[in-house]
């Protein structure tokens, strides 16, 4: 388990290539428990891939990732790495919530059924208890009155809030957000960011890939700027954003604003 000096996420020398293209060229990053790390950078910089490597939607080519002190995807026995069985991998993923750019709610289930799906199917929670918990979570993201709507009947912002509630239902110790507001109409962005702000205030450990610089400045404990598969600059968001040291970050911030 993570002690006071052990980070929730520890990423060491991670490399990942898709065919001839190397998208992660040696990433080192620590996310202490309870902190919010915002990852920014131009598209194609590898920030989404890094996030997807953390919960092993992508396999890495070299390096190590520990979440909650546990090596992701492998077990080390007798000086060798052994790939985990699918069941072990599923168990590791349970503790990591993931929110996608395009929500990926289950379209054949209502909002509340989406939130209940994880606990009932994966944890074996009884339906009545899962329903109570789902009602509380929908209340928390401000959608108690939309519980019985299908995703197609909800706006993008509402869908993303249901998706956050669905991840929280698994009681994760880490939440990954992969550009959670990039697919939303501008007027719907704030309602999702507000939910994420509340979540950060509860002490949830979060890794957020985003283009929302204001969110990064106000909520982030750490800002990471990635470009071309490497971390170019990192530090306190207020300092990094007001006085960027690298030309690449200055150019990027000029384009985003």
């Amino acid at each position: 388990m993570s002690g006071p000096d052990q980070p929730m996420v520890r990423i060491r020398a991670v490399r990942k290539r898709f065919g001839a293209l190397e998208v992660l060229k040696g990433i080192d990053l620590d996310v202490p428990a309870g902190e919010v790390v915002c990852i920014v950078g131009p598209s194609g910089s590898g920030k989404s891939t890094l996030l997807r490597c953390v919960n092993r939607l992508e396999t890495i080519d070299s390096g190590r990732i520990w979440v909650n002190g546990e090596l992701m995807g492998y077990a080390e026995r007798g000086g060798r790495l052994h790939a985990l069985r699918p069941a072990e991998l599923s168990r590791q993923r349970r503790g990591i919530g993931m929110v996608f750019q395009r929500f990926h709610l289950f379209p054949h289930r209502t909002a509340i059924e989406n939130v209940m799906e994880g606990p009932v199917t994966v944890l074996g929670t009884r339906a009545a208890q899962a329903r109570r918990q789902a009602e509380e979570l929908l209340e928390r993201v401000g959608l108690a009155d939309r519980a019985h709507h299908y995703p197609a009947q909800l706006s993008g912002g509402q869908q993303q809030r249901v998706a956050i509630a669905r991840s929280l239902a698994m009681r994760p110790s880490l939440m990954l957000f992969d550009e959670p507001t990039s697919a939303l109409d501008p007027e719907l962005v704030q309602e999702v960011l507000a939910v994420m702000r509340d979540l950060a205030a509860t002490g949830m450990t979060m890794m957020v890939v985003t283009h929302e610089m204001n969110f990064a400045r106000e909520v982030g404990d750490q800002l990471v700027f990635m470009d071309d598969g490497v971390i170019v600059e990192r530090g306190d968001p207020r300092e990094v954003l007001s006085a960027p040291r690298h030309e690449r970050l200055r150019t990027f911030l000029g384009q985003v604003r």
Binding site: N55, S90, H104, F106, G118
Partner: protein, 302 residues
């Protein structure tokens, strides 16, 4: 209300439709043709309507009808199971399973159903007995003689179901592939196992794509069962043939069989409509989506 809204409220549209003589001419021609067709059929003395009516609810015909229904339902059910199995095998990353599934669909889609039916009926010529035991010449626990097990009905069922499975595999595979890969990722992120992802997330959504062609396969199967008449399967067409071999009312008996086939396919079409609606759950039509987008506008103070 603003002035523009008031003005709009006072401008109802009561436009006169343009005259379209071509529509009326077309309708008249089509109706005339149908009346003529019905007349020639009804007054035709060679059709023996009295015989058709007399045999429509004949015990032997109804017996054949029942066999047709049994063959259709059973072979579709078994075919569906085989199809799902073959499709899941085809999408697995185990090359041996993929190859086995490919071989199955390749062979059974590559040979005519008629040949397969005759083959299954005569399988006793190749395998005189079936046994459960240790394969490759080991000891046997139970043994059946092919001549006892392979009746026209079981041969028909084998032929229809295994052939159907090969086609259903393609339909199911297309359905599974139609599901957004993001759905799988979302389910895996929740910690679902491969089987849970398939059963809880992928298959229910694939059903929406699988159901319409499966309904077509079912309707097609109702008629395909008539091929079983080559091995005397005792279904509707076989029975009709047996009767006309006795009373020489060839056309009348074929009309009787056709009437029942049309009744069955019509019922199946209606059923298909309702099943499709059931699996449309969560898919909102464009019109209701537009209405949803309009809702905030209606709430604005007037």
């Amino acid at each position: 209300m603003t002035r523009e809204q008031e003005a709009a409220a006072e401008l109802p549209i009561e436009a006169v439709r343009p005259v379209r003589p071509g529509r009326w001419l077309g309708a008249a021609a089509a109706l005339l043709f149908l009346v003529w067709l019905a007349y020639t059929v009804i007054v035709n003395e060679n059709l023996h309507w009295d015989v058709i009516v007399a045999y429509l609810a004949d015990g032997r015909i109804l017996g054949g009808l029942w066999v047709t229904i049994q063959l259709t339902v059973l072979s579709m059910a078994i075919g569906l199971v085989l199809g799902v199995l073959a499709a899941v095998m085809q999408l697995s990353d185990n090359p041996a399973l993929r190859g086995t599934s490919a071989l199955y669909t390749w062979f059974f889609r590559g040979t005519p159903l008629l040949v397969q039916l005759i083959f299954w009926f005569n399988i006793g010529l190749v395998f005189p007995a079936f046994a459960i035991g240790v394969p490759f010449g080991g000891p046997k626990l139970i043994e059946w003689q092919a001549n006892e097990v392979i009746t026209p009905f079981t041969a028909a069922l084998l032929g229809l179901a295994i052939n159907e499975g090969a086609y259903m595999a393609e339909i199911v595979r297309a359905g599974i592939r139609s599901v957004d890969p993001g759905q799988r990722e979302a389910a895996e992120s929740l910690g679902m196992s491969h089987r849970q992802v398939l059963r809880r997330v992928v298959l229910p959504q694939a059903m929406r794509v699988i159901i319409p062609p499966t309904g077509n396969q079912f309707i097609s199967m109702l008629k395909t069962t008539s091929m079983v008449s080559v091995i005397a399967g005792a279904e509707l067409l076989t029975v009709a043939q047996r009767i006309y071999l006795g009373n020489f009312e060839v056309i009348a008996m074929l009309v009787v069989a056709s009437i029942w086939y049309v009744v069955l396919t019509t019922i199946a079409s209606v059923g298909q409509h309702f099943v499709e609606k059931r699996f449309e759950r969560g898919h909102v039509r464009l019109s209701s989506r537009v209405r949803r987008n309009l809702r905030p506008l209606q709430k604005e103070p007037s």
